[in-house]
């Protein structure tokens, strides 16, 4: 624990970048003013699989303003080196899509050409005039009809025997629709070459991943590519990979010798970036008559592309959430003629939790047990997948606080027993868990003689408030006010950080920032205690704290001096340090997870099947909370996202040609203001000292897990109808 007073950390502060955002001055990827930039618009394949036989670009090129049309017929060959060189890409195993390198079409919407023009209007019109002819083959886009890859398996005990001998058995099949991130900011890239060096302004959750992907594609040294991304208009995972359009923008800029701006249309987000894959998931559960789980057998199939094998953390919840002696899991990817999926908020865990938590609710009903009581009976003493103790696990407390605050006792266990006019009212709950991931990170900290500090990391802020929370950490560790710390991120020239995803930014980057700031503070203290002219000369360094930019004795605040005085007297322009964090290597001693209990109350129209969420509550065991205001927003926002997954979001593909028919925000429904009532979040006080120096467990994902099953369970309680598919539509309820 830091010896420093904690003035900023834990305080309900508003965002340091708030003013920029409410005045429209925060600059997102497409908004950087790059002199002489021209516009690029991608032409998408209109078949689901096959070959390009001809491309007629004459009409497009005849348009005033159109500079160039690039396709596989005239594109320079790109080396597309393996990105494994740096182990810094998020490319899944396989052979990634290589833009304009051959005539093959692997999925509907694949880029087949790009039109570059001096104006956006000319580029858009030009793109519509490019005539592409194909030799089309029927695509395979149906998860349930295609052949699966070899499975990944996990087993402990003997699940089949456990099921056979169980007093109570259930065999349930679930299906979860594909979800698209649909962040409000479309993916966009501006690329500018200066000689052989490239600068890219990109929407990305990982400037280093984008940097290494571009470097690999073009065969450049990593340092010849700079990626800049100060603001990200939402990501939820879609920015975790350098997508083909990023390479296209850089290629177009190289060919035209002009800076190029390329913004994906809303429609192009659906196949130009990844998605949360659809799943078919069979779960068999066996328990004794008291609800103690004996066995669970999971068999799950998930979408992937024909060219890359995408997998995600869908197995851990089934291995560690509940005490289960016998577990068996079979996880198969199913290659389809679609683009490659990617992580989406709460990846894997959200999917598995929907299944497990729905099944637990079903089991509770079957045994006539309260769903919370059933979960309590299956609370494990240790992580049964590893035999390790939990660093912290306060799920029981989440249940009791949640039950009390939500008024769980008012729930009638008998479904369809509460009615208000046409509306059937029900309550449901679910538990949630997410991995506390940490990865190596670095930060550069400089304290200037004027008593202000600059902290730099390559990290991102897609919305959770990295700028603010990292400033809080830095301010307290340096003993400065928030105003005197300038925290910068989103530039590949800054010290390296892991992807801004998987809820690991605070733990990883925050710990590096903390380390760097601690070093700088200690340097200053050392300078003071060794400086005969300092009022702190000769004092034990451990007795000194810094507050408001002033070093002083912990027990006698009048004895001390300001950073400015100390540095100027010692002729130091600045003090500086490189902070770093790395999770302990080797075998971990603990099992690290964040937890929640999520509660929902819904109203279902008895005749129309319409589901309305009335209120929700999430209670979280997420370790220390650096920024309560922002954490609250994050949890509430995830509930909104979860309402989308539960009730609205569904990608519809025309399997005849592989076209996504609802690739727009009018038909792919996401929650709007009228869909969102009263949402509340409670974070349990506490910290996880084993997880990382800050004691945080990560927030962004865990707040999403459990939302959809809590709603589904509430729908059951309201109607008596168990819907085992997402989204839960009115049609399914009728």
């Amino acid at each position: 624990m830091s010896p420093q007073p904690q003035a900023a950390v834990g305080a309900p502060l508003s965002r340091v970048d708030g003013r920029l955002k409410v005045t429209g001055k925060a600059k997102y990827a497409a908004e950087h003013n790059v002199d002489g930039a021209v516009h690029a618009v991608i032409v998408d394949a209109t078949i689901g699989r096959g070959r390009i036989t001809s491309i007629d670009t004459r009409a497009a090129l005849a348009q005033p303003g159109v500079l160039r049309v690039i396709s596989h017929r005239n594109a320079p060959k790109l080396p597309y080196r393996d990105n494994a060189m740096s182990n810094k890409s998020n490319n899944p195993p396989g052979r990634r899509l290589r833009v304009f390198q051959d005539d093959r079409v692997l999925f509907h919407g694949q880029p087949v050409a790009v039109v570059i023009a001096t104006t956006l209007e000319a580029a858009q019109h030009g793109a519509s005039l490019v005539k592409v002819h194909y030799d089309a083959a029927p695509p395979s886009t149906e998860l349930t009809k295609a052949k699966a890859d070899k499975p990944t398996k996990y087993a402990r005990g003997d699940a089949e025997a456990g099921l056979r001998n169980a007093a109570v058995r259930m065999d349930l099949t679930y299906s979860m629709a594909r979800n698209h991130h649909n962040a409000m900011e479309p993916h966009a890239t501006i690329a500018r070459w200066t000689g052989d060096k490239l600068t890219v302004w990109d929407k990305t959750q990982w400037v280093l991943g984008t940097q290494t992907e571009i470097a690999a594609a073009f065969g450049l040294p990593q340092d010849d590519v700079r990626v800049i991304s100060p603001f990200v208009g939402g990501g939820f995972g879609s920015g975790l990979r350098g997508w083909p359009h990023v390479i296209i923008a850089a290629l177009a800029a190289r060919v035209t010798k002009r800076p190029v701006k390329l913004v994906l249309s809303r429609k192009q987000q659906y196949f130009g970036t990844g998605f949360r894959p659809a799943y078919e998931y069979r779960l068999r559960v066996g328990s004794d008559r008291h609800g103690r789980l004996a066995a669970m057998a999971h068999e799950l199939d998930a979408e992937t592309s024909s060219y890359e094998t995408f997998t995600e953390g869908v197995l851990p919840p089934g291995q560690m959430l509940y005490s289960t002696p016998n577990v068996q899991q079979t996880y198969r990817t199913v290659p389809l003629d679609v683009n490659t999926p990617i992580w989406m908020r709460g990846p894997g865990f959200a999917t598995a939790s929907f299944v497990i938590e729905s099944a637990m609710d079903e089991l509770a009903h079957k045994l006539d047990l309260d769903p919370i009581e059933l979960r309590r009976r299956n609370e494990p003493d240790e992580d049964q997948s590893s035999g390790r103790p939990f660093s912290t696990r306060r799920l029981r407390e989440c249940y009791s606080v949640g039950a009390r605050e939500f008024g769980w006792h008012r729930r009638n266990a008998k479904p369809r027993s509460r009615r208000e006019g046409d509306w059937l009212i029900g309550m449901g709950m679910a538990a949630g868990v997410y991995d506390t991931a940490r990865m190596p990170a670095q930060a550069r900290v400089r304290l200037d003689a004027d008593g202000t500090a600059v902290v730099e990391t390559a990290s991102s802020d897609m919305g959770p408030g990295t700028y603010t929370s990292q400033t809080q950490v830095a301010a307290d560790a340096l003993g400065l006010t928030m105003r005197t710390v300038d925290f910068r991120l989103g530039d590949s020239l800054f010290p390296p950080t892991p992807p801004h995803g998987g809820s690991m930014t605070m733990a990883s980057v925050g710990s590096a920032v903390l380390d760097g700031c601690n070093q700088v503070r200690r340097q200053a203290i050392k300078l003071a205690v060794e400086d005969k002219e300092s009022p702190l000369y000769g004092v034990d360094a451990n007795d000194i704290v810094v507050r408001g930019g002033r070093l002083h004795l912990k027990n006698n605040p009048t004895r001390g001096e300001k950073y400015q005085q100390l540095l100027s007297r010692n002729n130091r322009t600045h003090l500086e340090a490189q902070g770093s964090f790395a999770p302990p290597s080797g075998t971990q001693r603990y099992s690290f997870y964040a937890y929640n209990a999520t509660f929902a109350e819904v109203a279902v129209d008895a005749t129309l099947g319409l589901v309305r969420v009335r209120r929700m509550l999430g209670v979280y065991d997420a370790g220390r909370i650096i920024s309560p205001t922002l954490a609250d927003s994050q949890a509430i926002g995830a509930m909104v996202g979860g309402i989308g997954t539960a009730l609205l979001e569904h990608t519809v593909t025309d399997h005849r040609d592989g076209r996504i028919v609802n690739a727009n925000l009018a038909d792919y429904l996401v929650p709007v203001n009228a869909d969102v009532p009263d949402l509340k979040a409670i974070y349990l006080d506490g910290e996880d000292r084993e997880a990382d120096p800050l004691g945080v467990k990560g927030l962004g994902e865990v707040v999403m897990i459990g939302v959809a099953p809590a709603i589904a369970n509430a729908v059951f309680n309201a109607t008596g109808r168990r819907i085992r598919q997402l989204p839960i539509t009115a049609e399914a309820l009728l």
């Binding site: 009409a59 005033p64 001096t118 990200v232 208009g233 919305g463 203001n673």
Partner: protein, 176 residues
């Protein structure tokens, strides 16, 4: 440099017989109190005019199809989706964007309320939400949280800040 020359680029040598230059129009309009006369490609939306020609990137493009509200601005005091509004229709119009809302350094009360309520995360939908909220308050659709929710439902926030957006609008409407 701003809006002229929108169609100035000509086709390169490898183009076939050049098509007709895109038709342009001259439009005089007021943006955030400044009168501007521009020659624009007739296809140019108000949103693209603001973002690509005037450098006013505060108005956001989320869908370019009227479905998300990120591009909301006020035209003659009414909230509109600027992505669906053609510039050529705006002769004599008065446009207010997020950049024109604050009074110098003094934020508009709704901008201030958005900060106080933490009514945003990534901030991308925020200018549209705020402009829409200004319209909502002006229209008097702030009688209840339900009414605000309905009236603000043309503005998607994928970060899910709705609860706090409603609070910010309520707070500002209450102060009027």
């Amino acid at each position: 440099m701003i809006a002229g020359g929108v169609t100035a680029g000509s086709a390169l040598g490898d183009a076939q017989a050049a098509a007709e230059p895109a038709p342009t129009s001259r439009v005089a309009l007021t943006v955030n109190g400044t009168r501007r006369t521009v020659t624009v490609d007739n296809r140019t939306s108000l949103l693209d005019l603001l973002r690509e020609h005037f450098g006013l990137t505060g108005s956001k493009k989320g869908c370019n199809a009227g479905a998300c509200g990120a591009c909301t601005v006020l035209v003659d005091g009414q909230r509109v989706n600027s992505c669906l509004t053609l510039t050529v229709r705006l002769e004599g119009a008065e446009v207010t964007t997020i950049e024109g809302l604050a009074d110098g350094d003094e934020l508009h009360p709704l901008q201030q309320a958005f900060i106080e309520q933490d009514a945003f995360q990534c901030g991308y939908c925020t200018p549209g939400q705020i402009m829409s909220g200004v319209g909502c308050i002006k229209e008097g659709h702030t009688g209840s949280p339900e009414e605000i929710r309905e009236s603000m439902s043309g503005n998607i926030c994928r970060c899910g800040c709705y609860v706090k957006i409603v609070r910010a609008v309520e707070q500002t409407a209450g102060r009027k």
